[in-house]
Symmetry: C2
Subunit: 392 residues, 2 copies
């Protein structure tokens, strides 16, 4: 069933989209302000965090996206403008207005994002001053925009793929406080295909449900999660089925990039659960495995302590689990049969656990439900970054 | 309401209880087999893990405790006898029989526990050979038994307190794979008060619900969790209300000892949530805070990144959370008011986060529900221990 997608070796933008990023003084030296713009208004949809403490940009973004039309995205890193009250929302509006003035478009067509420390006032004057002239910087490399939204990411993340005459481009950042419930921290999808806003909304929700919402770096759901899609229609109609499949594929690939670049991560963890009582139960079990600190440290140390897989499956109290019908594999090496650890060669399992990509497959043998989930290992690097994130 | 309990400076056993521990060859050198015995049969109750892959000792233990009578506990460390199938259960029975033969009592009066690596066959011959003569080692110090059940614990854990003429003694181990759902990994409670088994069962479930089940070191629920209480009646009747209160107090204190000695831990985390829509919702929020890797690393680094508290509260999607009515304190210093981070002095919050005990209090302002939870910080030591647990 799965089409193989050839993502461009170096990502490109669809027709009409460009971006720019600058250092405006929020970070010590790195780029901290990014602008994405379409030459014409685009149909749009977005999903946001379900966290009860949404950031000011989320509060404003829900209002902005209601009309299903966007022409630009402005995003800053370093300060997330969360837990900042009415002053925070006013600052988010000023940020939209500044981008709109720079681009000569209405502020209601600008989506605002902020990512970084929670609870610190947004230095809006620096953003207003720094954005002046940025329209002149707009250029064709999505990685320039990706760089400006990075926090603890180790590299900028962008992907693009052709679908018929159209192109779809993803630009995202992830890293920590990542167990998205709607979308990952910040992910923007651009296309020049012509698609109506309600269609985009449905496609986006489906793709996010199968990808970003199956990702967990650390079980913590950000207050700033945003995933938006903009379709400016410059290449006209697109085959809907092909577009839909490509959208899911790109969201899935971006999910893997975000997982692999989770804070401190050294491995990408891919989990597949099948034979569950339902897809929902398969998802619960897959998330339990991908979130277990003991599974994550087992992978980190390439320690063949595979009993921990059974522990992680077994703690899904509300799921149907029959020990005698439970099998498990690591990168295709069977390590559990009928709920018992097989007498495998430790060296073989050590070797496969040491690979950069570790795929764990669990067959529950009680039904036809299945699900996938993505995550990463737990390392001293994660602890180090997060014990001093505010202070550094 | 809370009575202050004076736990004995050096724990003692109730009348009639003694213990012994030995090195029988499971670990390289440390004590790895422990025996607890009562001079006479005791009424008893126990709760076990809810993990779907219970260890062989749990399968046998559920059968044993059904009669409400125990006279001894035999426990080994290093190998947990989990995911070992029918052979594992047969080995657990042999372990009960060996202890029973040594003590001259029926095997049906012996509770068996094993703790350590999952999925490795129990070296039952070493246990059967090593236990011979152990009845002659039985003596009065609970810490001797506590030492024999340690895995990655950094010190043996025992407590005792007087209630009228009776004594209650707790012996436990914890450390990793600790989010008990019934009881912590291994906790034994001994008393010389006279109490019927059904009363013990009710008291134990209540106390465990308010203490061990509110503890999480790492969100991972062990396959071996066991908490048992033995009442041999040697001091006769006890004031039930006083006994009940002391039982909860001791279980709570032991919960704090286990949290503080979580793998790699350097801080004890105490969380209180009040003003929730219900006690259940308060519990969900308290657990979310105590389990958040970003809150745990914030405490570890004494980094005043208190917005993470709001993130952890806000990701309780199913709970009633009103940002504008949410307040929070760290060791009594208010850091959040009405859902916004207060402009506090960073140095003050840094200082209080650096203390060994960090108490986080959150008032949700939406009802009267309240709950407590206990945990610890997340450190590089946790990662280090668990990246090579099987191999070391």
């Amino acid at each position: 069933m799965a089409t193989t997608y050839h993502f461009h070796e170096r990502p490109v933008f669809p027709q009409g989209f460009r971006c720019a990023s600058r250092h405006v003084g929020l970070k010590p030296a790195a780029r901290d302000l990014t602008l994405f713009a379409s030459a014409v208004e685009a149909n749009a949809a977005a999903v946001f965090t379900r966290n009860h403490f949404p950031g000011a940009p989320i509060i404003l973004g829900r209002e902005t996206v209601r009309e299903g039309r966007l022409q630009a995205v402005v995003a800053n890193s370093k300060v997330s403008n969360v837990a900042t009250g009415a002053a925070g929302v006013a600052n988010a509006r000023r940020m939209a207005a500044a981008a709109a003035a720079e681009l000569g478009i209405p502020a209601t067509r600008v989506l605002v994002s902020s990512t970084g420390v929670i609870g610190v006032p947004l230095p809006i004057e620096k953003i207003e001053a720094g954005i002046v002239g940025m329209a002149g910087d707009l250029q064709a490399d999505p990685l320039v925009g990706a760089e400006g939204i990075m926090t603890t990411d180790t590299h900028p993340k962008a992907l693009s793929v052709a679908v018929g005459n159209a192109v779809i481009t993803w630009v995202a950042k992830g890293s920590g406080m990542i167990e998205p419930n709607m979308a990952t921290m910040l992910a923007y999808i651009f296309t020049d295909a012509a698609l109506e806003a309600p269609v985009l909304d449905a496609l986006l929700r489906e793709a996010v449900g199968a990808s970003f919402n199956r990702l967990s770096v650390d079980t913590d759901t950000s207050t700033s999660d945003t995933c938006a899609i903009l379709a400016n229609g410059l290449t006209g109609a697109v085959d809907l089925a092909a577009f839909r499949e490509a959208l899911v594929a790109g969201c899935t690939r971006m999910t893997e990039l975000l997982a692999r670049d989770g804070e401190g991560a050294e491995h990408l963890l891919r989990v597949r659960v099948r034979g569950a009582a339902s897809d929902t139960e398969a998802h619960v079990v897959a998330k339990s495995i991908v979130n277990s600190p003991l599974v994550k440290t087992m992978v980190h140390g390439a320690d063949p302590n595979v009993g921990r897989l059974l522990m992680a499956v077994g703690k899904c109290f509300a799921c149907t689990i029959v020990p005698g019908s439970t099998d498990a594999w690591i990168n295709g090496v069977q390590v559990v049969a009928g709920g018992e650890r097989l007498p495998f060669d430790d060296a073989v399992v050590r070797e496969t656990l040491a690979r950069e990509v570790v795929e764990i497959e669990v067959a529950l043998g009680v039904g036809t439900g299945e699900a996938r989930a993505w995550g990463c290992d737990l390392t001293k690097g994660y602890v180090e970054e997060n014990a001093a994130y505010y202070s550094s």
